[in-house]
Amino acid sequence: MSRRLPHPWLIAALVLLWLLFNQSLSPGHLLIGTLVALIAAKGLSALRPLPLRIRLSSAIPRLAVIVLVDIVRSNLAVARIVLFQTTRPRASGFINLPLDMRNRYGLAMLAIIITATPGTLWMRYDPAQRSVLIHVLDLIDEDALITLIKNRYERLLMDIFE
Amino acid sequence: MSGWAAHLVIAPILLPLVVSAAMLLFDERRRKLKRWMSFATTGALLAIAIILLRATDPYGVAAAPLVYLLGDWPAPFGIVLVVDRLSALMLLLTSVLGFTSLFYSMARWDRAGPRFHALFLLLLMGVNGAFLTGDIFNLFVFFEVLLAASYGLVLHGSGTDRARAGLHYVAINVATSLLFLIGVSLIYSVTGTLNMADLAARIPLVPREDLMLLEGGAAILGIAFLVKAGMWPLCFWLPGTYAAAAPPVAAMFAILSKVGIYVILRLTTLLFGDGAGRAADFADEWMLFGGLATILYGTLGVLSSQTLVRLAGHYVLISTGILLAALGTGQSTVVAAALFYLVSSTLAVSAFYLIIEPIGRGGEDEVAQAIAEPVFEDEYIGALEEEEDEIGIAIPATLAVLGGGFIFCALLLSGLPPLSGFIAKFAIIDGLLRGDGAVPPTVWALITLIILSGLATVVAMTRAGIDLIWTPTERPQLQLSIVEAIPIGILLALCLALMVQAGAVMEYIERAARTLGDAALYTSAALDAPRAGDGAIAP
């Protein structure tokens, strides 16, 4: 994170964003895109965000695949609940998930994953206790779920962000 | 007019805009600088208005209006600004009021709240734009500009009354703006154009089955203007709002209701002038009866007003009513007289608003408190204290000056000699009686109401003036600073000049009324105006 080029990753991402917006790879757009990205990055650095380090490893594609699969699965599960379970009150409830991860970006990623997966909902993170409150639509086995999340997501995320 | 001078047409709009934009770059501490900036601007506006007035009125030539094609797009496609004698006259009137009100505000009112000068100049911009534009939607935009600025200025100085009145004012005018939009879009839906001159050309061609839309649109548009002009029963907001506004603001507002009148006059002569048949008569009838009712209501209000500011507000209604009714009689002999009355009554009301405040001043001073007492701890108040009493030397014989000024105003408002109010009313009545045929009962009613309203004003003003000026009270000595006295003096002197130079002024106004009546002149000037280049600069 040099002074001259703050957040190189970010700038690269923003240039990509610009190119995607414009659907063009022309050198002109590359130029303008870089300029715009610099401006935007300057804006962000004014906000003094927490430093972000990403470790490039195989964890990223693995995580992506796992998440995709889980999303499809839970989509089906939730659809089933919505469509077919009409009267019986569902065993939905809250679980408290203790976390080892401290990196905020990792936590944010985890929050996205958990919330984007239908059936689980990230509700409250308690930094003091380092635990997160999750609402689960179809709560069958609380402990199994906790281990699942910790093993499937948290570990990979910690690989990437910490 | 050629070369750089041609751009003078747009200067009344751009100059205040640029200056106020520049003011935003300085913060509140540079009060003195802002003062000088806006003072110079109003002075320049005055000069520009005079130049335009002369340019539209060359000696012995039947002058076509000056046309300015914005963006160099030909009419009716681009927006045009059109200055004829009437708009030049209104510009001049606005500039005069702007100059005097701003002058007056420098006594202390510009310190009663932040950003006064910028808002004030933008108000001038809006009013000037409304007088200049030749495009009906652009008119809407300028109405919004002037309204937005007036919203801010009504609440300048804050206080409970202002908040209450301001809320009504905003709510009603926002609703009215929506009506304005509906009217404009209805007209567009039938004619497919927004340019006033083009509308005048296209309206006769509208097929009969579309006339309901056209006239419905025109009627709704008319309602929107009548709200602004303050016709009964659309006028109840007006006295309260004007009364709540700070004096220099109210003095400037004197022109706002006249903007409504101006637009009505412009559009009726242009769009529904001779040959438009039913629509014109229809509009006339509404204006006549509405005007009569307005005079009556204003008279009642003048009589029942407890304070001078409310009295002044109701007088504004009377003047609106007189103008509407006089124009609504459809007699061409009365148009010039009505315009003369418009000028005279606007100046008079403005002067009156300015003079009310020093007369009623004394004891508990809300504004002074507001200046001294910020509501929140974090407010910056340094600038307010550094230049206290910089201008504002009290002048001697205050009572005599105020009393004299008050009497002048009373005479002007009630239409008694020897000031221009008398000439104006006399000219209107004379014009009404001038026709050859029998005088219809409505015209008699109008004459009666004009007379009665004048009498009511005399009664109310005498009562109020005696109570305020002659009755000894415990309150401290009246005070008037030079800065306050000069603008009042200018306005009253202008009224006096209108009287002394009535002949010359009337001749000008008659020429203005003639050009106003000549819709073809306006239309051809606006539609055939040459472009500066052959299209945009070619690639």
């Binding site: 939730v78 659809a79 609940i81 809250f94 996205i112 958990i114 239908p118 909902l121 509700m123 409250r124 | -």
Partner: protein, 124 residues
């Protein structure tokens, strides 16, 4: 407004299926919004739309435009990214707010003694 872009048959079939599928999934989610019993349960429902439903339609759209313009059109991925990144924000904030409000209500009900037996305990 029955009209459609001029696509080759294979693409048309894929696009049509995906669009229908996505719409159906979204509808299911929204029905869940109607049918589920408590707020916390309902909060899960729209995620169907923001994940699978959206994905199907976006793929359809990307395919459609790629075929139409004869070049890969990928910017649909932006929508996916943005929606995925922003939905959790709203849901998290909303769920937490709901939790707070329900707690307060529960406290008030307890104070008034009107709390019913069947109500589930909310986490503190």
């Amino acid at each position: 407004m029955i009209q459609a872009p001029d696509l080759p048959a294979w693409a048309a079939i894929i696009v049509g299926t995906l669009v229908l599928l996505g719409a159906a999934i979204t509808l299911t989610g929204s029905v869940g919004l109607l049918r589920l019993g408590t707020f916390y349960q309902r909060a899960h429902a729209p995620t169907l739309g923001t994940t699978a439903g959206m994905a199907c339609i976006l793929v359809a759209s990307a395919l459609c435009f790629s075929v139409l313009q004869a070049r890969p059109v990928l910017h649909e991925i932006l929508i996916a990214l943005f929606v995925t990144a922003t939905t959790p924000v709203t849901l998290m904030l909303l769920a937490r707010a709901a939790l707070y409000r329900d707690r307060e209500e529960q406290v008030a009900a307890e104070a008034a003694g009107t709390r019913k037996k069947g109500d589930t305990d909310l986490p503190a």
